[in-house]
């Protein structure tokens, strides 16, 4: 897997090594990492990168220009007669060409065109040459740009997830985009593009370095070189099974996405109900009034919703979720695929919810709050916060155990299941008092919380059921609120603050004393958890 351009080192000595720790003093010691990318030296991206990043558009524009000028070329080179100059007033393009021909500037024009072409090619080449990255024990660092140099460093222990995306065209060429998510908006470090197999191996190496494991123990067998013949095989198998790493076959998906269930859940989703309601409204109004104005008005919306639903199905058809030693790996996509590894301790809250029409089938969906925003989309084109698009209770159990192993262990699963479909105080839940019926007509016996030893569980909704779990080790703060209406009823509401995301962990209409108990309970437990939590350096001992 070694390629000559990947071993290029800049003429200037690389910048000073990161702060010396026992493990970084001799970075060329035998390492457990399996690619030569993670050796602390500067490396380059896939040589076809410029083509994938806009070069294809450039080639297409060139093609269009050549096709348009073809007639001209024929006239110039194959017609001995004087070209009859059209009278002035033609379009700008032919005017310009006529001018060039008339003034006998063809050579100059060609030279200029070739010059521009060379400049562009040189630009692409240098932007590729100057786009380098390196991975040390402490940071991932990327340098890019010709005139305006940018240099981005991300600390390995702050990595929130590593995403490998394979858009369709690069995928055909066997290239993949590796994106390292760091907490914050637009704080990601993309490495676009790498060879597909390299991307998988590099992700494993980065996670290994980030895990706090000491570099030790050589594993040279991991880099089994394959010849030219093997390359084609590898390319084909990569296309066919993108969710499987070449060397990391062991983690197989714990949830099998059943196409019937996926289509059924999409048909029965709330979005589909809106779509059907819109279609009914259009049919009714056009029959009653005999005019189609509503169709015209709603057409863009219908197209948008329809596209959203179809995207949800196609993206989730090859959904996979698997446990790896360095976190949970979630894969999506049919033609363009993405699969992302979330290291342990990066999931800030989890919500299991059930749209109304899914209840007869016992289907649930799971979303998470994460500290980073990936530019790649998950299921249904949402940001990668939808972790399980649809699944039954067994799938929910398995995924919860994967996402929050310290919260969803064998002993606590019954409590979690009570949180999904139970009601009342069973299982340690504290629910809203009966006087809160005024505010929670149907859900009062469900609307409640439970403080387990590792997470706070918020249970809401009788019609649209949901359960939110926030591990104490990830809560940022907690607040309790009370307005005049709630005060008159001796109630209060509580919000647990986590990083921004689709989940808003709050619980309304609690008894005033229960609300304060929840407030103090979460505040104390999160202090205890923060003092002992080491999940962000999951392999460190």
């Amino acid at each position: 897997m070694t390629d000559p351009h990947a071993e290029w080192a800049p003429p200037s000595p690389p910048p000073a090594a990161p702060p010396a720790t026992p493990s970084t003093e001799q970075p060329r010691q035998p390492v457990a990492v399996s690619t030569d990318f993670a050796d602390g030296e500067w490396h380059r991206l896939h040589p076809a990168t410029p083509l994938f990043r806009g070069g294809l558009a450039f080639v297409a524009i060139l093609g269009v220009l050549i096709v348009n000028l073809r007639d001209r070329f024929f006239e110039i080179f194959f017609d001995d007669q004087q070209v009859p100059l059209p009278p002035t007033g033609g379009d700008l393009e032919s005017d310009a060409i006529d001018f060039i021909v008339r003034e006998e500037l063809v050579l100059v024009a060609l030279l200029i065109a070739v010059g521009v072409l060379l400049l562009l090619v040189a630009g692409f080449y240098f932007s590729w040459r100057l786009h380098t990255f390196r991975i040390t024990d402490e940071v991932v660092e990327v340098r890019s740009g010709i005139l305006f140099r940018t240099n981005r460093k991300a600390r390995l222990d702050r990595i929130q997830g590593i995403n490998i995306a394979r858009p369709f065209v690069p995928r055909v060429f066997g290239a993949a985009k590796l994106e390292i998510s760091v907490a914050g908006n637009d704080a990601n470090v993309p490495l676009a593009y790498l060879r597909g197999a390299d991307a998988d191996a590099l992700r494993r190496d980065i996670l290994l370095l980030a895990s706090g494991a000491q570099r030790a123990g050589v594993d040279p067998a991991a880099t089994a070189a394959s010849g030219i013949g093997g390359m084609l095989d590898a390319r084909v198998s990569e296309l066919l099974s993108p969710e499987l790493d070449v060397d990391l076959v062991a983690p197989t998906s714990i949830v099998r996405m059943n196409p019937g269930r996926l289509i059924g859940s999409t048909v029965l989703s709330d979005t589909m109900i809106v779509l059907v309601a819109m279609l009914v409204a259009i049919v009714v109004t056009s029959i009653v009034t005999g005019e189609l104005f509503l169709l015209v008005a709603m057409f863009p919306g219908i197209i948008g919703i329809g596209g959203f639903l179809i995207a949800r199905i196609t993206r989730s058809l090859r959904y996979s979720i698997a446990a790896t030693p360095d976190g949970v790996r979630v894969g999506f996509g049919l033609l363009s695929t993405t699969n992302e590894t979330l290291p342990p301790g990066r999931i800030h809250s989890v919500k299991v919810s059930q749209p109304l029409l899914w209840r007869p089938f016992g289907w649930w969906q799971i979303a998470v709050n994460r500290a980073s925003r990936s530019s790649q989309n998950g299921a249904a084109g949402q940001q990668q916060t939808s972790i399980l698009p649809v699944g039954n209770l067994d799938d929910v159990r398995a995924v919860l155990q994967l996402l929050l192993p310290e919260v969803a262990h064998e002993a606590s699963l019954p409590v979690l299941e009570l949180g999904l479909s139970g009601r009342g105080t069973e299982g340690g839940f504290t629910v809203s008092p009966r006087r809160a019926r005024v505010l929670r007509w149907f859900s009062q016996p469900r609307n409640g919380f439970a403080l387990t030893d590792t997470a706070v569980l918020l249970r809401r909704g009788a019609i649209w059921r949901s359960l939110i779990a926030v591990p104490y080790s990830r809560t940022q703060s907690v607040s309790v609120h009370q307005g005049p209406l709630l005060r008159a009823l001796r109630l209060a509401w509580v919000q647990v603050h986590t990083v921004a995301g689709p989940i808003l962990p709050m619980l309304g209409a609690l008894d005033r004393d229960d609300a304060l108990r929840l407030f103090h309970g979460v505040a104390d437990a999160s202090l205890r958890a923060a003092a002992t939590d080491t999940s962000h350096r999951w392999r460190q001992r």
Binding site: G345, Q476, V480, P484, H497, V499, L516, A530
Partner: protein, 183 residues
Amino acid sequence: MTNPESTGAESTGTESIGADPAAPGSARLDVAGEWQRVSPKYIPVDMIGTAIFGAIATAVSFVPFWIGWPEGWLVGVGVATIFVITLALTPRRVRAIGYLLRDDDLLFRRGIMFQRFVAVPYGRMQLVDISRGPVARAFGLAELKFVTAAASSGVLIPGLPLAEAEQLRDHLVAVAETRRAGL
């Protein structure tokens, strides 16, 4: 619940605000402790801000009346009334703002009608901001913002004398360093 103590002194006194109505049967929220109050000088700062905003909002809401809607003045008067009430309640509201430095976390409270209590562990601190508006600067005050990774934490302590705000910031940074936690 009136707090007669508004000495106007430079230092902000400690006082257990809201402790009196915390009778066992009270519906109000309360957390016992020696709450630090913000400077009483913040009352005029807040009032000036409210007054300027209120004057602009009132002027805008009179526009329908001026362009020929005879009953439009009702809107303007309504808006003005809301701001006058807000102004009148400012001293009460400012006195309800408080913070409490516990061993491992910071408690912050504000509001009388709409009460809000927040508990933020020091270790979750991402940064501390001190900012001063022009009016607050004229009164020698500053506001301190405690930022965590969650946008909804919203701990913004206004009306601190500058020296106290800087002292509090240094204290928060120091204790956060010893209790550093992951994200």
